[in-house]
Symmetry: C2
């Protein structure tokens, strides 16, 4: 799957992911109103609103970006109808030729991780049939439980040609509380990164592994150091834009071949119309604002490569 990701990045000349993380506040009034007219001010109405919002953005940007990253929490907040909207979003984006990275940050003991791997990347057996549950192309995974919580994901990645991104160094302010703790001279995030190399070695797909990692744009020094440790693992980089990471910060996350990293922005793209810079588009044309924000982001990232 990473090979396909690289093909799409290269074709579109855009090492960029749009994070589809809809808050109801981001959804323009006319979309909310229409959804509420049909379904009432209910969870179903909210789910319809975020789905229509996503659809508009996806249609507007699908020729520009290789991949989208829906954050499942933003859907789970609306209960079952929200999860339904997540599934519809995943399916629709795939129909549009986009690679879908489910930002689900799952991870548990072995048998439970196996169920997550089945549900998000693989197929489940029901009697004599088998079905995909959510069928993302990649998902993000939490490493706190160690190798036997990760191995079931690796198995499914190999069976299905799919991929994972393991949290190494997250973009949030307090990520250092545990991740930066140092033992025998090595911070925890580096130990996890070295495990990612190990886990990824059995999942090569061309020059890169289907096992990548997450390193926040907000910690460029660590990104630089980790890049060298993980030469064959893609880095998914959140934290660009709204969280404070700049293109200049991101240069060192890439390998010399211009590959090896993909930068994600959520709010900066999907709520672009709310920024002064894109306010001329107006709320009605929110998707055009998102398109312009994507064009600007791609240009910004490519300017440092």
């Amino acid at each position: 799957m990473v090979k396909k990701l690289i093909e799409e990045i290269t074709k579109k000349n855009a090492p960029v992911i749009a994070g589809l993380d809809p808050m109801l506040d981001y959804v323009p009034a006319h979309i909310q109103q229409k959804a509420f007219e049909e379904y009432g001010e209910t969870l179903e109405g909210a789910a319809e609103a975020i789905w229509q919002f996503n659809k508009g953005i996806t249609d507007a940007i699908c020729d520009l970006v290789p991949a989208v990253k829906p954050q499942v929490a933003m859907y789970e907040q609306f209960g079952v109808p929200g999860v339904q909207a997540f599934h519809k979003t995943v399916s629709y984006c795939k129909e549009k030729g986009l690679i879908v990275i489910g930002d689900v940050k799952r991870g548990d003991i072995g048998s439970t991780s196996a169920a997550y791997a089945t549900g998000h990347l693989g197929k489940v057996h029901v009697g004599s049939k088998s079905y995909y549950g959510f069928d993302e192309d990649f998902i993000t995974v939490n490493p706190y439980l160690g190798s036997d919580g990760i191995n079931p994901f690796l198995d499914v990645c190999n069976e299905e040609n799919k991929g994972i991104f393991v949290l190494v160094k997250t973009s949030n302010p307090s990520s250092g509380e545990f991740q930066d703790k140092t033992f025998d001279g090595m911070p925890l995030y580096e130990l996890v990164a070295r495990k990612v190399v190990e886990w990824g070695a059995g999942c090569m797909d061309g020059d890169y592994s289907n096992v990548g990692c997450v390193i926040g744009a907000t910690y460029p020094e660590m990104g630089k150091a980790l890049r060298k440790i993980l030469p064959h693992n893609y880095i998914l980089v959140p934290g660009y834009g709204a969280q404070g990471g700049t293109a200049e910060d991101l240069k060192e996350y890439f390998n010399d071949d211009g590959l090896g990293a993909i930068v994600s922005s959520s709010r900066g793209i999907i709520a672009a119309y709310k920024q002064e810079k894109y306010s001329k588009f107006g709320e009605e044309n929110y998707a055009d604002a998102s398109r312009q924000a994507v064009i600007d982001m791609i240009e910004d990232i490519n300017s440092v490569l």
Copy 2:
């Protein structure tokens, strides 16, 4: 919410949780058959089967246990219909007077953890209305992202009188890979435990905090040491039974007041009818086998207190 949990534990004299983690393999043939007749061999059929299976077990054990712990991964593997079955299970168990601990192990950057907290413990605003998404009483939470990934859960716990259990030392074989790493003489799990004390201090509900932690039954020495560090935090103890933890191992997880810990068993209860010990019940009477397994487990745990 921990006060209510303690009341129920005391009333039922059972510091025991039943883990509702259904695999389709556990569901007796007659239930699967009926579900498949109605819905076909589909995800809907599988979801109906696990829901009916859960319902049977819940009816059989709800007077014995204070709480149940559905593992959401087992539902997510069946996609949206599975998540629907999770929601139905949560609601039904609450109707039956059970406290529901959603074993979801969520955790992310602040804004995303806020969405998870909303979806699983709190209410989401839709226009002028607000709704509970999944409405568990407690959920399990992953600490890898540090305090700002935990704080949103604390806020919702305080608003809604709900609770969380933070992963400290998990029951799986490779949990030590990261959790046991020692810096400045302190293993990571202990550092997390000390943070749990800090996080929990603002969420007291009687003598205990609504912020508890997860410590596997499979590491009794660590459980003993951690008990002293966390005097006011409930310990959710997985790993009893099928994973290898024994009642004798668990003694030290409790405080001198006989409180402070609650022991979870999943397979050992819900798939009891498959064990030789309970085979006399037969597949048709799987729920009676589960009831007997719960009675035996409560007796076993209470024998060491």
